[in-house]
Symmetry: C2
Subunit: 325 residues, 2 copies
């Protein structure tokens, strides 16, 4: 059921670069002390799809492909993403990710904090190594957006979390800002003009919103073995996502769930909602909203020179709507 | 009993800059969302002495004092330091720091992870804002040194932790690298020549080693109300520092403690050692070693142009030997 085959075809125009990015992870492994290796090996494949580095490379390729800066930047995007996953699993007290035990569940919160910091540090080093001040500042701005939003989300009330605009802001910061930085930095490092940079930034942002909504749909309708974690995990962890938000706002039984959530979580009512939501029309509504963002992403590509990489970006935006994991 | 008065005299040559650095923290507070403020207010004074920003400013001042880059860099050093403290408290499961409840103990590990990341992000933004590639790369290298070493320490065996060379490597990475980055970046941003940069880097490194050893001595001989945490906390948490290492290596009763620690921690034997160590001559030995590093720090200053700031750096190195908190 893996979509790996499709993706490797889409990544075709940057195949060589993608393998160089894996080489950078190999170097990181080579630099690390022996005792850290089990933790690295457990996490360096968290991302699985390598979407973020692919987006960076594909966004640079329509212009001038400069491997000595594009490759480290692409690798940095993946390492930073991995850092956020390792830290998120502490925050959510998750024990499973992609079907494997999380670092916090195996080695404790302390080791997970430090491993996340370690990935964070290496991503910063790779970004700094580009010696490109615009990209360095983009990266720093992204760090602020993501960390500020994650902290605010952690401290927010359930009422706030059940609001559509709050949700869009939240996924805009926690997910779309990383995709937008991946594409914008690729364009900058490729030497694109300002129009191309802004177009690829807009593509990455809308791609990211669509990607996260599909992720949040899959949390309800996916198969446990594809997800590698229990179905409905987000809601159980107290993080209502778009399906829940639409269900609570519009479904006859939504009021019950709202009460259960705001009252501090009636576990039975939450479980019932997890079983109920996949059969309601909120899933189709969510897909509709994601499709709207995908269309905006595709439209942004009109301003990017047509070439195999630009077509790959287009295919990628279409692919994420159909993925099952 | 506070040493605040002495320090503010030493900081005299950069008093205006220090108050501008506080202003940057104020701006950060102003940018943050309402619900984050209690956490910021609880942690922005963790550092207390503001040694790291003072070192950055004093290291820039003997050359050309350029406030628009020196001030953000100085603020970044303090914010990054705060980030590491917040994360360290998770790793050590500490409930008290400077006499106040820690973030993890009050708000949980999740909020502490995210708050640390938030400080981390803001420090990176401030460093990026200097637009100085050398300083940006210094910062990135420091992140790698600190995070790699903290992770390795977390995974190390008790046998490794009881080794003197391991200890010096560890404090070199976790503490001295931050001080060395503070002073080196100050010199770089001040426009110093290479000799001055290397001298101030060496000063910061040796200053950092001496500072950490004094810290580790105070963990045994300090007063609980000065320390703001229980006496002997490091050893109880399974992190033997220099007094313990020398005690285990040379004291007649050291073998008992070694056995207790490597056997997985006989709490009674550890408690006994915490009571015993302050009365032994290992404390004087530790001071002697710290004094050696301080001398190296002072010697490095010979290559820095004499001026009030250079004298302040010299006074600061002397001060840290005498501090009681």
């Amino acid at each position: 059921m893996t979509k790996g085959v499709d993706l490797s075809a889409i990544y075709g125009p940057v195949r060589e670069g993608m393998s160089q990015v894996e080489g950078i992870f190999g170097e990181l492994r080579g630099l690390a002390r022996q005792d850290i290796l089990p933790l690295l090996d457990q996490t360096l494949h968290y991302g699985g799809k390598r979407l973020r580095p692919a987006l960076t490379l594909l966004s640079g390729a329509p212009f001038e492909y400069r491997p000595h800066t594009l490759h480290p930047m692409a690798a940095a995007m993946e390492l930073f993403h991995t850092a956020t996953l390792v830290h998120d699993d502490i925050v959510d007290a998750s024990s499973l990710r992609r079907g494997r035990a999380t670092i916090n569940s195996m080695w404790g919160d302390g080791a997970a904090v430090l491993l996340g910091d370690f990935f964070f540090a290496h991503s910063a080093r790779l970004v700094a190594s580009t010696d490109n001040l615009r990209v360095i500042n983009l990266f720093a701005k992204m760090l602020m957006a993501i960390s500020g939003s994650e902290l605010a989300q952690n401290l927010s009330t359930m009422e706030q979390r059940l609001d559509y605009d709050h949700y869009i802001d939240w996924i805009g910061a926690k997910t779309a800002s990383l995709f937008a930085t991946a594409t914008e930095s690729g364009a900058v490092l490729g030497g694109s003009g300002e129009d191309g940079i802004q177009a690829l930034k807009a593509y990455g942002h809308h791609f990211g919103l669509a990607f996260q909504i599909v992720d949040d749909i899959l949390d309800f309708v996916g198969q446990e073995q594809d997800l590698g974690k229990p179905v409905g995990a987000d809601l159980v962890q107290g993080n209502p996502t778009l399906p829940t938000i639409l269900f609570v706002a519009g479904h006859p039984q939504g009021a019950d769930l709202r009460r259960a959530l705001t009252d501090g979580g009636d576990a039975e009512a939450v479980k019932k909602a997890v079983a109920l939501i996949p059969g309601t029309d909120v899933i189709a509504e969510c897909r509709q909203i994601a499709r709207g963002f995908t269309k905006q992403a595709l439209k942004a590509l009109d301003a990017v020179p047509p070439c195999p990489s630009t077509r790959a970006l287009s295919d990628l935006a279409t692919y994420i709507m159909s993925r099952s994991r």
